[in-house]
Amino acid sequence: MSHTVIDINNVSKLYRLGAVSSKTLRDDVGMWFARIKGKEQEYLKIGEEVKKQLMWALRDVSFDIKDGEVLGILGKNGAGKSTLLKILSRVTKPTTGEIKIKGRIASLLEVGTGFHPELTGRENIFLNGSILGMSKAEIKKNLEEIIAFSGVEKYIDTPVKRYSSGMYVRLAFAVAAHLDPEILIVDEVLAVGDFEFQKKCIGKMKDVSTSGRTVVFVSHSMQAVKSLCTRAVMLQAGVVAKEGNVNDVVDFYLKDGAEQIKNGVIPDNASKYNSGDAKFKTIAIINEKGEQINNLYFDQLITVQLELETYRTVDECVIELGFGNSEDRFTFTSTGDMAGKTIKLEKGKHKLSVELNPKLLPGDYSVYLGVHDMSKTGLTLDYVEKIFDITVYKFTADNNSNFLFNASLGKVRQEGKWTITQNK
C-alpha cells in the first residue's frame, strides 16, 4: 500500500502587487511588527490602502501525493500552478499552511540553472549538478553518460558561451535528466526547445515515472499530462477546482472557462474604435455538439456566434472576424461571403453565425471583431481586439497528435492539393 510522500496542508500564498514595499515607512514598521508576532494576516485586514495591492495566489490548497504517483497540476495562467511549484521547491515560502515532504526531493523549474558562460561544458555539468542537489560522486559516476546523452562530446571542454542555443539546452537537460531523486518536481521545462527535444524530455519523464518514483508535473500541455500522469489536480484562481483521475480533470479543464463567459458579453469599453453607429454585444464559440468552448482541439470545426447592434441602417456593411496570436499580430481574418461584396443591415439587433475550421496550429489566440461602413470609405463602426481568448491544443478531438510531425511551422495549417509525378 502506497503512503503519502507529500502532504500539502491548507497552503496559502499572498502576494503584494505593484509596489515593492508598502506605501509608508509606518506601514512597513507596522507590518514588520505584525510579522514578528506572526499575525501578518490580521494586520492586513486593517488598512484598506494596503489591501488593494494584495493578491492571494493560492488559497487553502490541500492535497496529498502518494508514493510512486505521477501527479499533474493543471490550470490556466495565473491559477497558481507556478506559485505552488515554487513553494514545493522551497524557492519561496507559503504565507500560511505547511507542506510535509518525505524523501529526497529535487525540482526542475528550469534547465541549466547557474550555467556560467565562461565555464566549459564539463565544468558546468558539475556546477549545475551540484545546484540541483547531486553529490560530486553522483556527478562523477554519471559524467560519461551525461556527456553522451547531451550529444556535445566534441565541445565538452569549450566554454558554453560558444555553444549554440540548442547545444546549451541539450547539455542542460542532460544534467537534469540524470537527477535521481525520490520525488521529482517538474515545471513546463518541456515547453522550451524544439519538438524533438520535447519528445526526448517526455520520454525521460516516462522513464522516471515508470521506475516507481514520485513525479509532480505542471504543464499546459494536455497531451503530456494525459500521457504521463495518473492523477491530476486542477487549480483555478488559487484554489483546487478539481482533483482526481487524470481524464476527469482534463475533461473538466477543457470545459473550464467556457462557463465563465457563458453569456459572452462584450463590455462597452472593450471597443478600440467606435463610431457610435454599431456595437458588438456578445460572442460565443460553439462546438459540433452545441456546447460553448474556448479551448479547441486542433482541426476542429467551430461556430462563432455574434450579436451585433446597429443604431442606424448601414447600407454597405462589411463584418470581419479575426484571429490573432499573443504577439499582437493577426493570424488571419475572415469576412466569409462578404469578400468584395457588402451587406445591408437595418437598424436593430442582428445575430451572426460563422461556421469555420480555423486550422490554427496549437497555441494561444484571441479573437478580433470589426464592422465597417463601406459607403463611407470603410469607416470603422466598431472594432474590438482580443476580447475572447482561445487555446488550440496539441492534439485533435480523437487524441491524435501526429500532425505535429509535419507542417507544424507557422500559425495556420494550409492544406493544398498536391500532385506529385516522377519525371521519366
Binding site: 507559503p94 505547511e98 518525505k102 528550469e110 540553472t113
Partner: protein
C-alpha cells in the same frame, strides 16, 4: 491503518530567526567549492593578463597610495617604510572590501538562480568570501615578496620582518571574514527592498577605509583617536602589521572586541538574511 510518518522536510511559513542551517549548508560544501571555482576561473577569462591581475591590481593600488598619501599628502606611517606600510594595508583591505562588496549583491545578482532552485542561500556569500580569501593568499604572497625584497635589496639592516605571531593570522582572517560576511549579507538583504543601498555600498566601503588604518597610521587622528578605537578593523590591521612587520603591537583586548563585534554583526546578518530569504523571491 496508521503509518508512522517520519517527514524529512516540513515547509512552513516562518522559520526561526537564527535558523542558520549550518548542517544543511555543510552538506552543500561541494557547491560552495564549485561557486568558488566559478568565481575565480571566470573572473579574468578573456583578459590578456589573466590571473596576473590578482597581483597587478594590489601592486598598482599600492603604488598609487604611495604617491597620493605618502609622497603628496605625507601622511604618517608611524615610521614604517611606505612600500611595506601601504602594501600591507592594500592587501588586507582588499580582502575585506572585496568580500563585503561581492557578498552585498548576493540576492540581486543571483535572483535568477534563487528563483529556480533551492539550496541554502548562505552558500553564495560564503563562497564569495572563500574565493576572496584565496585571492588574498595570492596577494599575501606578493606582500611577502615585498618584505623579502626590502630586507635583501633595500635595507639589509631592516627589522621589518614577520615574527612568531604570524601563526595567529588565520584568527585574524576568520574575524575579518565573518565581519565582512555579516556586513555583506545585511546589505544584500536590505538591497532587495531598498535598491539605493547598492549604490551607497561602494561609497560606504570607501568611508570605512578612511576610518581604518589602511593608508595612514591610527595615531593620525589625534583627538579623534576614539573613532579608530571603536572601529573593530583597526585592531585587525594593527595586528596584521605587527605579525608581518613587527611594528606597533598586538592589542589582544582589541582583538577580542573585534571578534565579538564581528560575531554580533554576523548573527544580526543571518537573522535578517533568513527573514529576507523567506519573502525575497516575491519582492525582487
Amino acid at each position: 491503518m496508521a503509518i508512522e510518518k517520519n517527514w524529512d522536510l516540513i515547509v512552513k511559513p516562518h522559520s526561526s530567526w537564527f535558523n542558520l542551517n549550518f548542517s544543511e549548508t555543510w552538506r552543500y560544501r561541494n557547491l560552495v567549492l564549485l561557486f568558488v571555482k566559478r568565481d575565480i576561473v571566470a573572473q579574468y577569462k578573456q583578459t590578456i593578463l589573466g590571473p596576473i591581475w590578482h597581483i597587478l591590481q594590489p601592486a598598482l593600488t599600492t603604488l598609487m597610495y604611495i604617491l597620493v598619501f605618502g609622497v603628496v599628502a605625507k601622511l604618517s606611517t608611524d615610521g614604517s617604510p611606505k612600500l611595506l606600510f601601504y602594501s600591507s594595508g592594500v592587501v588586507l583591505w582588499s580582502f575585506f572590501s572585496t568580500s563585503l562588496i561581492n557578498t552585498s549583491s548576493t540576492f540581486i545578482a543571483n535572483a535568477h538562480i534563487f528563483g529556480k532552485i533551492y539550496f541554502p542561500r548562505l552558500v553564495i556569500p560564503i563562497s564569495v568570501v572563500v574565493a576572496t580569501l584565496i585571492r588574498f593568499f595570492i596577494q599575501l604572497f606578493l606582500f611577502i615578496l615585498i618584505i623579502i625584497y626590502w630586507k635583501f635589496f633595500v635595507d639589509e639592516s631592516s627589522n621589518f620582518l614577520p615574527n612568531i605571531t604570524v601563526i595567529l593570522l588565520p584568527l585574524l582572517l576568520i574575524i575579518m571574514g565573518i565581519f565582512a560576511l555579516g556586513c555583506g549579507i545585511i546589505i544584500s538583504s536590505l538591497t532587495t527592498k531598498y535598491r539605493d543601498l547598492s549604490i551607497f555600498v561602494s561609497f560606504g566601503v570607501q568611508l570605512i577605509m578612511y576610518l581604518t588604518p589602511v593608508v595612514y597610521s591610527a595615531s593620525i587622528w589625534g583627538d579623534y583617536q576614539w573613532i579608530m578605537d571603536i572601529n573593530p578593523l583597526t585592531y585587525i590591521f594593527e595586528s596584521f602589521r605587527y605579525m608581518f612587520m613587527s611594528t606597533g603591537a598586538i592589542n589582544y583586548y582589541g582583538l577580542v572586541y573585534s571578534a565579538i563585534f564581528a560575531i554580533i554583526v554576523f548573527l544580526i546578518g543571518t537573522a535578517i538574511f533568513n527573514r529576507v530569504d523567506k519573502s525575497f523571491m516575491d519582492t525582487v
